[in-house]
Amino acid sequence: MTPQTMNITLVVNGQHHSLDVAVHHSLLDVLRNDLDLTGTKECCAEGECGACTVRMDEKAVNACLVLAVEADGRDITTIEGLATEDHLSPVQQAFLEEGAVQCGFCIPGMVMSAAYLLEHNDAPTEEEIREALSGNLCRCAGYKRIVRAVQRAAEAGR
């Protein structure tokens, strides 16, 4: 028995891909294993930890909860696509400046969630930031500095 596959097309960080993917594989599997975009992390694989947060069209999603075939034709942005060649995104820059990074494993997902928040709310309150990031677990628990980094990025972006 070989797994059933389907051909899908994805735009990932601006690049077009045509891929044969197993129908049971998640978008996370495809990003990490087929495209070697390992910046998106796998932890709980059940949509609770947020380590695999990516942008799919207009939404931030847990890539572990999206089947790759569901992503057919979608535009995906991962952590690797957030910075340009010369510039970090304001969120990435602020995370560095505020010392919000410790072990770093949650950080790609955290940065993606924060970037999504700021796109929709350029002046979030502390409570709104806490709410927006509550689906991203950080066991180093750098939350205080992460929240500050988002505030700083918001200020920089205004």
């Binding site: 028995m1 070989t2 797994p3 197993a22 990490r32 070697d36 975009l37 390992t38 910046g39 998106t40 992390k41 796998e42 932890c43 709980c44 694989a45 059940e46 609770e48 930890c49 380590a51 991962t78 952590i79 690797e80 957030l82 910075a83 970090l88 990435q92 995370f95 560095l96 400046e97 010392g99 990074v101 410790q102 072990c103 770093g104 494993f105 949650c106 950080i107 790609p108 940065v111 930031i129 806490r130 709410e131 990031l133 509550s134 689906g135 991203n136 677990l137 950080c138 066991r139 180093c140 628990a141 750098g142 939350y143 205080k144 500095r145 992460i146 929240v147």
Partner: protein, 753 residues
């Protein structure tokens, strides 16, 4: 020339790779030709393995090998850090839920998973030992076959070790007030966001192991021993772990993968799921019975402490966790008479290991609540009773051990001031304050190699791991200052036993002191070499040359940069200067825990919180954590570590608890049901205060840091809950349900006026 990197909040080295997703953790490594491994486990803790049929599994295309105990040497190889008790695969009987009985290696993870599901195991479930009471029951089944414990008088029990310490005489000590209680500390898990990952490749020259391990040199030793290879044939590559907290200290499935790699001739890769990670290791749960005698003025007369730690199926490092933490069970107080008994118990539960605090939080939870109860009964202030008993700096508060090495009063006073101790509170609020103490490393060895290259850049080779605490940054700051080269020119290379020399471990908050000291000595050695070189060039004596932060001063006052001098000295042929740094602390066989701690981690935590009496929910308005660190080499890193430890402490205080069913299975297995603090569980205000008196044994007077902020969180919060509601709770976690029940069944005798 640069000045003064030490003491500055220098940005994290590796931060850029982490915010851009470029940092490669073990699961991100891609090896050509690697096989994917899936473990086969049973749906219960303890079972007799009757038969394993792999025929259906072999039919899955892409399967390359299927291992059961029969495929491994007989007798089954066993391994561990202090006890070689853990089998490579379960043999005869499983000892905990999650212990593999077989493993499949296949070309793809899909194939490995499908085949693993087709391995048919006939087994007979047996009654498990799951808690302290069961483990101590003389009629209980034995977790460890006595045959495996030869010459061990306790072999016919589930007690692995008993640790006893005493001073003074508890039996004859008198007291005006005696308080006796039992406290329980739950089974919790590390939950690093990076699950454990391993890859092992084997060929005729030896094995190479990639592992998310904190202590690559311990893994190397264990692998060499179990496989019968010289150390030089075992290379451990340890990429920066994605969080560890003690859970990634010791070998797990690396030996199994080595046998599978040798059998197939291909690298074998196993990345655990989060659920499997939960089943791999956890913190020791404990029951602490404590009887404390006080004088009527609150002075402690005696501590009589008995603690049972449930280690689980295998010892891992737990015996050390228990022996070391129990030696400090009476806390940072002046205690004239003490008797301590701590037992390390086996059970059919996942093995326990080190976890931030290393056994100390279990004792602090009990001890600090005793202090509160004494204050209530004696009508004293909770701060006052602590200050009355706290050891003064320099005082030998445990006979024969390291004296109090900090001004702990200062820490307590600063915490009290920051929380507004004694000031009026709104209705429904309470304040709490507690102290915690942990012994640092008692022995160890940290070697470093420093290579001063021709252009003035420096390789620093160390076996330390950077798992988020920032060791790479700290070492860079130290070297940069010592040699007067910019931080960008310093390249700290870690995580490869073929490149970096021996480091005992990255544990016990030791790295700043041990490895920091080691690179300081390496720098001193390099400067000696430069002095000799300069003396040779100028025809003077090395003692006449001064070097300060990269500036070389010759007799007569001429100054040159260190790079210029080295280049002149190395001449046209070029080359480099190489120095070895070494910091060793020998074990002391006559000391009850194998040596005096190099320093103590002392913490005072104070909180102000609000309890919703209708729901039992706790809202922490302010959380203050004070660390006595000697010297903050990097204040931002110190604060980050302390804040993180504080919040991790709030996890076991308010929500975390692994729940087992009657089969010994973890019911709340995974992130959905096992909750850790999120942004929404943070205190509304979190303040980290650093006390710096330069009184540590590390570089610039530093002590270690990183665990302290967690040690006494539970007691501080419980103290505040009692202050707010009048109820006393002696079991963790303080879930809303537990608090609500306590409020509604409150007995007035337990309540202060």
């Amino acid at each position: 020339m640069t000045t003064g990197n030490v003491g500055r909040p220098a940005g994290r080295i590796g931060g850029l790779d982490r915010v851009t997703g470029r940092q490669r953790y073990v699961a991100d490594l891609r090896l050509d030709d690697a096989l994917h491994v899936k473990l086969v486990t049973l749906p219960c803790a303890r079972a007799r393995i009757v038969d394993i049929d792999t025929s259906k599994a072999w039919e899955v295309p892409g399967v390359r090998t299927i291992f059961t105990a029969a495929d491994l040497p007989d007798p089954m190889p066993r391994y561990g850090v202090h006890y070689d008790d853990r089998p490579v695969l379960a043999v005869g009987e499983t000892k905990f839920h999650g212990e593999p009985v077989a493993a499949v290696a296949a070309d793809t993870l899909d194939a490995a998973q499908r085949a693993a599901a087709l391995v048919q195991v006939q087994y007979e479930e047996l009654p498990p030992v799951l808690d302290v009471r069961a483990a101590l029951d003389p009629a209980a089944p034995l977790v460890v076959d006595p045959v495996l414990r030869p010459d061990d008088p306790l072999a016919s029990t589930n007690i692995r070790r008993e640790f006893r310490y005493a001073w003074g005489d508890v039996d004859t000590a008198t007291a005006d007030l005696v308080i006796e209680n039992t406290y329980t500390f739950p089974m919790v898990t590390h939950f690093a966001i990076e699950p454990h990952g391993f890859v092992v490749a084997a060929d005729e020259s030896g094995v190479t192991v990639w592992s998310s391990i904190q202590h690559p040199y311990i893994l190397q030793r264990v692998m060499a021993r179990v496989l019968g290879l010289p150390l030089s044939r075992v290379r451990v590559i340890a990429p920066d772990p994605g969080g560890a907290f003690g859970g990634k200290g010791y070998p797990k499935f690396e030996p199994l993968l080595a046998y599978m790699a040798m059998a197939t001739g291909r690298p074998c890769r196993l990345v655990l799921t989060l659920e499997e990670t939960f089943q791999a290791v956890r913190r020791n749960n404990a029951e602490v019975r404590i009887r404390t005698g006080f004088d009527s003025d609150g002075t402690i007369r005696f501590q009589d402490i008995e603690a049972d730690f449930l280690m689980g199926a295998y010892v891992d490092i737990s015996a050390r966790v228990i022996s070391k933490s129990s030696h400090l069970a009476a806390g940072p107080y002046r205690v004239p008479n003490a008797r301590i008994l701590a037992r390390a118990l086996h059970s059919h539960t996942p093995p326990s290991t080190a976890m931030r605090g290393f056994g100390t939080p279990q004792f602090s939870w009990a001890l600090e609540q005793q202090m509160d109860e004494a204050a209530r009964r004696l009508d004293m202030d909770r701060l006052e009773i602590r200050l009355r008993n706290l050891a003064r700096k320099g005082e030998e508060f445990i006979p024969g051990d390291t004296p109090a090495d900090g001004d702990w009063f200062e820490s307590v006073r600063r915490a009290a001031d920051a929380i507004g101790w004694g000031e009026p509170l709104p209705d429904g609020r309470g304040r709490g304050l507690a102290v915690g103490i942990k012994s640092s490393a008692t022995a160890g060895a940290a070697y470093s190699i420093l290579r001063f290259l021709y252009d003035g850049s420096v390789f620093v080779l160390v076996g330390t791991s950077d798992m988020g605490q920032g060791a790479r940054t700290i070492l860079t700051q130290i070297v940069s200052d010592e040699l007067g080269v910019p931080p960008e020119a310093v390249n700290v290379v870690m995580g490869d036993t073929a490149a970096a020399p021996f480091d005992y471990s990255t544990s016990a908050s030791r790295s700043t002191v041990f490895m920091g000291g080691s690179v300081m000595r390496g720098c001193a050695e390099l400067k000696d070499q430069v002095r000799e070189m300069a003396a040779r060039l100028r025809g003077c004596e090395p003692e006449e040359i001064e070097i300060d932060r990269g500036v070389v001063t010759f007799p007569g006052g001429e100054q040159k940069g260190i790079v210029e001098v080295v280049q002149e000295g190395l001449g046209a042929v070029g080359g480099e200067l190489i120095a070895v740094g070494l910091m060793r602390g020998e074990a002391d066989p006559n000391h009850p825990i194998g040596g005096r701690p190099w320093f103590y981690e002392f913490n005072c935590t104070a909180v102000e919180l609000e309890v919703d009496r209708r729901t039992g929910e706790v809202l922490i308005h302010k959380h203050v954590t004070v660390a006595d660190v000697g010297k903050a080499i990097n204040p931002q890193h110190v604060e980050s570590q302390d804040e993180g430890a504080a919040i991790m402490g709030l996890g076991h205080t308010l929500m975390e608890h692994l729940v087992l069913d009657e089969h010994g299975r973890i019911v709340n297995l995974g992130a959905l049901d096992y909750r850790i603090p999120t942004t929404k569980d943070m205190p509304l205000e979190l303040e980290s205060i650093i006390v710096e008196n330069g009184d540590g044994p590390g570089p610039h007077g530093a002590k270690g840091v990183g665990e302290g902020g967690l040690l006494c969180v539970a007691a501080a919060v419980a103290s505040a809950v009692t202050d707010a509601t009048g109820v006393v709770i002696r079991d963790l976690p303080l879930t809303p349900e537990r608090i609500w029940r306590a409020i509604n069944e409150v007995t007035p005798s337990e309540v202060s006026p």
